[in-house]
């Protein structure tokens, strides 16, 4: 460990020296960082397929209702919680939770907010490396050769087989060395940016990456909307018909109201809003803790959420499914393709670019844009754990980055090795990205609106606000959002968990062992995070729980 000289001439560990508090350098910087965290692969690959396969335009009604009642209120809760914790001197979830609820158990709930982003990072960085590999392969022209060799009509099957061989869907094992090299490059790049710190790493990168991402998407969108009727004729006809496939309300045996009475559409729409805005990941909580005491959270939170919605509804909603329909036709866009982000993104879209004029250029732009969307998200997944290690154990950044790099490398190796049917990736995605984030969002909402108290929450959130939150939103935050969240979670558990367990039961013994191993690994990771919180508990037990000079509202 590095040492510094104390005033008495005695060497003291550098870790013991007080850390300088980090802050965002600008309001736009924090908005871009939070928006970058929220805008990810789900915006471009999950949302369009989900909307198109579940009612088309009608899907947007439950989608926007969920945005107003669930997404935006919980975002404000996370921003408010984070800034409050940061004002008390804490950046990690255990510290922030302990300021809100003065109970020894409170900090242990923070273990969820450390474990969730780490676990998601373990598979997300792998998908991120696929996007970069595809972008590089488009730049070199090798991905266009796959379609040329397959011939007209066989592109979709060729790209499906190419993807299966690329990730090793048929059997467990490590991929080819070229893919591993790109994975290592992406992994190291994430840690390099994190090592540079909040402003010089995360904020600077997002300030450039987000505009470039949006610019790439706008170029692709302009190309898609001006395709008209492609020559030679394509199975989807013209762009007008293709947009209709995405946006026309699909009413199965009734009107719009009868479609809206289907609970599944509400479940899917609210789930999409929830995952898309990155609420319940513990990331916004951490990012907001680097705000200054009187920095605005209301307008910044809303702007970051709306930027995410712009990428999802206005860019992805007008690009992904319409262009896939135009070039591949309805026969190739069944529920199996629309319901799978990988099938839509890595089988269908390359087949589209194979037929599109200047497809190599647009293929490169598409996958480079996906890479940017992924890296701005994966970066944000590392910061909560770094903040925890620095705060809980008073470690310098170099040591925190090294420890986190080691832990995540183990998880990434597990995901990469157990590639058969992408079982490891799918298992982490299901149990962490779905189950755990619901739990964390529920904990945060209850802590803020019920334990901290909605009156204090209101005063705290409105400090320095550049926008007034409508009065009804305090009622929504206290009653509607937690109830809505609970109803969705219970309904989702009733539908999805038995289905998942049946799916696991139907696997071969070898595959079942893989799933059980990954679940045990996740449980061990959560226990490890709880243990780390326990070891560093004194850091928060003796902490201050009020902002100096602030009147405590009863």
């Amino acid at each position: 460990m590095a040492h510094t000289e104390s005033s008495a001439g005695r060497a003291v560990p550098r870790a013991a020296a007080p850390r300088q508090r980090e802050n965002w350098s600008s309001k736009l910087g924090v908005i871009m960082a939070v928006a970058g965290s929220a805008v990810g692969l789900g915006n471009f690959l999950r949302f369009p397929g989900l909307a198109s396969a579940n009612g088309g335009g009608v899907f947007m009604i439950p989608y926007f209702v969920s945005l107003l009642l669930l997404g935006i209120p919980i975002c404000w809760v996370e921003w408010g919680l984070g800034r409050y914790g940061g004002s008390c001197g804490y950046n990690s979830a255990p510290g922030i939770f302990s300021t809100l609820w003065r109970h020894p158990a409170s900090k242990y709930f923070g273990a969820f907010a450390i474990m969730i982003p780490i676990a998601i990072y373990m598979y997300y960085v792998y998908i991120e490396s696929w996007c970069l590999t595809y972008a590089v392969d488009y730049a070199r022209g090798s991905l266009m050769d796959v379609a040329r060799q397959a011939g007209p009509g066989g592109e979709m099957t060729a790209y499906r087989n190419y993807f299966a061989a690329f990730v090793g869907v048929d059997k467990d094992g490590f991929p080819e060395w070229e893919n591993l090299v790109i994975l290592i490059v992406v992994f190291v790049l994430n840690f390099y940016l994190i090592f540079r710190g909040l402003t010089r790493g995360i904020e600077s990168f997002n300030k450039y990456a987000m505009p470039v991402l949006i610019l790439c998407a706008l170029v692709i969108l302009a190309r898609v909307l001006t395709l008209g009727t492609p020559q030679p004729p394509q199975p989807g006809g013209d762009i007008n018909r293709a947009l209709g496939f995405m946006w026309n309300p699909r009413l199965e045996g009734g009107g719009i109201w009868s479609e809206l009475r289907n609970p599944e559409i509400w479940l899917l729409a609210s789930g999409q809003i929830f995952f898309s805005l990155s609420v319940g990941f513990g990331i916004i909580l951490n990012y907001a803790s680097y705000l200054r005491r009187n920095d605005d959270v209301v307008l910044s939170g809303l702007t970051a959420s709306v930027t995410n919605e712009f990428c999802e509804v206005c860019l992805a909603g007008l690009i992904t499914v319409p262009v896939a329909f135009l070039f591949l036709g309805p026969a190739n866009l069944g529920k199996d393709v629309l319901g799978s982000s990988f099938a839509l993104g890595f089988h269908a879209m390359p087949a589209v670019f194979a037929r599109m004029p200047a497809g190599q250029l647009f293929g490169f732009l598409w996958f480079f844009m996906l890479f940017l969307a992924a890296i701005t998200s994966s970066l944000s997944m590392l910061q909560p754990a770094i903040a925890f290690l620095e705060e809980g154990f008073n470690l310098p950044r170099r040591a925190s980055v090294a420890i986190l790099g080691f832990i995540t490398a183990i998880g990434v190796l597990i995901v990469v090795f157990f590639s058969k049917n992408l079982l490891a990736l799918d298992t982490i995605d299901f149990w962490v990205s779905t189950v755990c984030i619901f739990v964390l969002a529920m904990i945060q909402t209850i802590l803020f609106a019920w334990i901290f108290g909605i009156r204090r929450a209101r005063v705290e959130t409105m400090k320095g606000a550049d926008l007034k939150i409508p009065g009804v939103y305090w009622f929504i935050m206290k009653y509607v959002s937690p109830l809505y969240l609970l109803v969705i979670f219970v309904a989702w558990c009733r539908i999805s968990i038995p289905k998942k367990l049946a799916e696991i039961g139907g696997l071969t013994p070898g595959d079942r062992h893989t799933v059980v191993f990954v679940i045990c690994f996740l449980a061990a990771l959560l226990l490890f995070c709880v243990m780390l919180v326990y070891l560093s508990r004194r850091r928060w037990d003796g902490g201050r729980h009020e902002i100096p000079g602030e009147e405590v509202i009863p």
Partner: protein, 52 residues
């Protein structure tokens, strides 16, 4: 595309774009915190007159 399709598309895209323009307009219009603040020498406390 049907009339309902156009309505859903334009309403969805229009509302998001409108809200985004409003939010960024407010973000850029609001002066930075340091622009609100005044250095001690800028603040006239009127106590300089009392000494005359």
């Amino acid at each position: 595309m049907t009339v309902y399709g156009w309505i859903f598309m334009l309403a969805s895209v229009g509302s998001v774009v409108g809200l985004m323009v409003f939010c960024f307009w407010r973000v850029f219009r609001t002066p930075r915190l340091e622009e609100h603040m005044h250095a001690p020498l800028d603040i006239d406390t009127h106590d300089a007159d009392q000494g005359r």
